[in-house]
């Protein structure tokens, strides 16, 4: 066996005091994404709050908005199911994982449907579009930005659901599913803020 000079001149296998464990890169990456996304949402929320009551013409939020209680319950409870999906995957309960994922996707889709109905009502019956006034501008952009995030989350969750149905999701993927669940929790947390700002404070 020939011996050649290594690329590294640093002593190898030097003593290291503690066992060397660094955080999982997926979790850190998602945390960074959540920070950046939060900053984006904050700007939209600030714009929303800044323009409350500044519209030069109607309709006003009080006239046309109704509390989306049902959709909110669906979205927030989907967070619990995605959490169960991760924990059952950890315990190698693949059936439970698939069922919980399916429940998450279903509840998320119902939420999206309630938003779509609300928008249909506002555009078709009330004649409120993004062009109408400042309320329309800020409402559609903030709720729309959130809905876009729901759509992205649903696409990713559905993909995982398909893989899970095909029996490809195993215990070793639980860290990755957890990263996705972090994103979903974030989307839900943002909804709480949007709900409070748009439907409570803004009305």
């Amino acid at each position: 066996m020939t011996t050649i000079t290594t690329a590294s001149r640093i002593p190898i296998d030097g003593p290291v005091e503690t066992p060397w464990k660094l955080p999982y890169r997926g979790t850190i990456g998602m945390a960074c994404l959540i920070i950046a996304e939060s900053a984006i949402f904050i700007i939209f929320v600030v714009a929303y709050i800044y323009y409350i009551g500044k519209s030069l013409s109607g309709p006003t939020p009080a006239q046309v908005l109704e509390l989306p209680i049902f959709g909110t319950i669906c979205l927030l409870s989907s967070s619990i199911f995605v959490h169960f999906a991760v924990s059952s995957l950890r315990k190698e309960n693949y059936r439970g994982c698939t069922l919980n994922l399916a429940a998450t996707v279903l509840l998320g889709t119902i939420f999206l449907a309630t938003t779509a109905r609300e928008w249909y009502h506002l555009i078709h019956d009330e004649g409120l579009t993004i062009k109408t006034n400042l309320f329309g501008t800020t409402y559609y952009s903030l709720v729309g930005l959130h809905a876009t995030h729901v759509v992205v989350g649903l696409i990713m969750l559905s993909l995982v659901l398909c893989f899970s149905l095909a029996g490809l999701v195993k215990e070793e993927h639980s860290e990755k599913l957890e990263v996705l669940s972090l994103y979903w929790h974030f989307v839900d947390a943002v909804w709480v803020v949007v709900f409070l700002v748009v439907y409570v404070l803004g009305r």
């Binding site: 066996m1 020939t2 011996t3 050649i4 000079t5 290594t6 690329a7 590294s8 001149r9 640093i10 002593p11 190898i12 296998d13 030097g14 003593p15 290291v16 005091e17 060397w20 660094l22 955080p23 999982y24 890169r25 850190i28 990456g29 960074c32 994404l33 920070i35 950046a36 996304e37 900053a39 984006i40 949402f41 904050i42 700007i43 939209f44 714009a47 800044y50 323009y51 500044k54 519209s55 030069l56 993004i130 062009k131 006034n133 400042l134 329309g136 501008t137 800020t138 559609y140 952009s141 930005l145």
Partner: protein, 560 residues
């Protein structure tokens, strides 16, 4: 030197040398290697440096003499818009991300970034954004028919950007280009943070990490909270322009001030996003060329982190003339002045590092000395401008232009040039020509001071920024002429640098692993580093692992 039977031989088969050009191009287009992506960032940024510099030269020719008609007012507006946008988003950001991409994994003993494919995506989306911006020259069809570049200024105040005042597509190109470059920046920042937190080699605790990765960590954190608001604001502007929403439409109750706030919430921290890497280079270069360990490592880290936090609360000092009210004025004056405390700590630490050292005046150190001096002056004019009453007098004058160019060129570009001379041997395996480097240094130094020292004065004499010409006899003529002469010196200096980089690549002396007798991990691997960086993942036991290896009699632990 450790000897072990390892995989070094495999590296030869991966070499692109001797391959047909098609394969080499394919290799570069599809690469996910952090070093190749870093180099592509740097080359792309240098191309934009030349373009943005050319725009600056055209403006200086126009302003060199009074009543000049070298370019029309419309073209002049496009020139300063494109110059500013190019230099900040398509030169400054990519070149610093490129350096970070190349250096961070090497310095923390990692084999690549945490997300190599995201890295490639971020680069290509940024590159696309730059091309999109310049495509406006062909496809802009703005106010004056076919082909017009954006002309709304680099901070694009509302309502100038609305459809009414900016018909055509030139502003759309600007918005989308900045939006996409923001996406790329956030992607790379995410990658840098994750790499630093999750990929450090064994034994490299955060308290042992070199200062360059530390500062890139702070800088990337700032990108999340600073660039994201700009991205959000660009989305709003796009909605305004395409879907007819009213965020910045003053006719429908929208607010122009809100855009100012959103832009400067990005704009001020952006200065620190750009300057922290410049500090990072100084932190690596000054100790090596003073032959001493960095003075006050913990203070340096603490100062950088606090600069990051404070820089988030000072943005409205760009808006004193918009009227903030007494409480707002007081807060932002105070916050801005406070930031000079951690910055001062840094300057003292660098001076203390140099103090009593065996200083070697190689080109990297020459640039660092100029950096220290010029950064100090830039900081002092910054404190002047942070006082609201002074600011009311000189806001939007050439004094402001001179001040921020002192930061961007005098501090950041000088530090960057120093970094080029310092790491070039690592990247190419060749030393750069020292005579040419000295020519570059002196020409650029003289040019810089001719341009930006003298630029302060017309500002104090009342010359506003962004005017395309001026009447004779206001006391601005000679000064503007000198400023123009300086620009030529700088251009020649920069061209010498570019020539030197190409010349030395073919003709330079072999550099070897460690030409500067430095002590961070990147100098332990061959130059250029193999694609996997470290054949065996290193283990470190101090802040200066390579120093300990070379000088066992003087261990680094004595300095911690």
């Amino acid at each position: 030197m450790t000897t072990t039977p390892v995989l070094e031989a495999i590296d030869e088969t991966l070499e692109t040398q001797g391959q047909p050009p098609v394969n080499v191009i394919y290799e570069w287009l599809t690469t996910v290697d952090h070093k190749k992506i870093g180099l592509m960032y740097i080359v792309y940024a240098l191309l934009f440096l030349v373009v943005g510099g050319f725009e600056a030269i055209l403006m200086r020719i126009q302003l060199a003499i009074p009543n000049n008609h070298f370019v029309s007012p419309q073209v002049f507006n496009q020139l300063f818009t494109m110059h500013g946008t190019t230099m900040v988003f398509f030169m400054g950001m990519p070149i610093l991300f490129g350096m970070g991409n190349y250096l961070v994994p090497l310095m923390i003993g990692a084999r690549d970034m945490a997300f190599p494919r995201l890295n490639a995506f971020s680069f290509w989306i940024s590159a696309f954004a730059g091309i999109l911006l310049y495509y406006s020259y062909i496809g802009g069809s703005g106010l004056y028919a076919a082909g017009s570049a954006p002309d709304v200024g680099w901070f694009a105040y509302a309502p100038l950007t609305s459809k009414v005042f900016s018909p055509g597509h030139s502003t759309d190109y600007w918005t989308l280009a900045v939006l996409l470059s923001g996406v790329g920046s956030i992607g790379t920042a995410l990658n840098i943070v994750t790499t630093i937190l999750c990929m450090r080699c064994k034994g490299m605790k955060m308290s042992r990490m070199p200062l360059l990765p530390w500062l890139y960590l702070v800088m990337s954190g700032l990108v999340f909270v600073a660039v994201s608001p700009l991205t959000a604001a660009q989305v709003m502007l796009t909605l305004d322009r395409y879907l007819g929403s009213h965020f910045f439409d003053t006719q429908a109750g929208g607010s122009a001030i809100l855009w100012m706030h959103f832009f400067w919430i990005f704009g001020h921290p952006e200065v620190y996003v750009l300057v922290l890497p410049a500090f990072a280079f100084a932190n690596e270069i000054i100790p090596v060329f003073s032959r001493k360990a960095m003075f006050g490592y913990p203070a340096m880290v603490a100062a950088s982190v606090s600069i990051g936090f404070i820089s988030l609360s000072v943005w409205a000092h760009h808006m004193f003339t918009a009227g903030l009210g007494p409480a707002g004025n007081t807060f932002f004056v105070f916050a801005t002045m406070v930031i000079s405390v951690p910055t001062g700590i840094k300057i003292f630490n660098w001076l203390a590092t140099i103090w009593g050292g065996k200083i070697i005046f190689a080109p990297p150190m020459m640039f660092m000395v100029a950096f220290l001096f010029q950064f100090l002056i830039a900081g002092l004019t910054g404190i002047m401008l942070s006082a609201a009453p002074f600011n009311w007098q000189l806001s939007a004058s050439y004094f402001v232009v001179a001040h921020f160019h002192y930061v961007l060129v005098g501090a950041i570009v000088f530090s960057l040039f120093g970094a080029f001379y310092y790491w070039y041997p690592k990247v190419t395996g060749k030393m750069m020509d020292e005579t040419l480097a000295k020519w570059h240094f002196w020409l650029f130094l003289i040019g810089f001071h001719l341009t930006f020292d003298f630029m302060h004065v017309p500002g104090i004499l009342g010359m506003p920024r962004r005017i395309y010409t001026y009447e004779a006899g206001r006391g601005w003529d000679t000064l503007n002429f000198i400023v123009g002469i300086g620009a030529i010196f700088q251009a020649v200096g920069t061209l010498i640098l570019v020539y030197n980089m190409i010349h030395s690549y073919y003709k330079g002396k072999e550099a070897g692993h460690d030409p500067w007798d430095a002590w961070t991990l990147e100098w332990s691997v061959p130059s250029p580093p193999p694609s996997y960086n470290f054949a065996i993942e290193p283990t470190v036991n101090s802040r200066r692992p390579l120093w300990d290896l070379k000088h066992p009699e003087d261990p680094d632990s004595d300095y911690e």
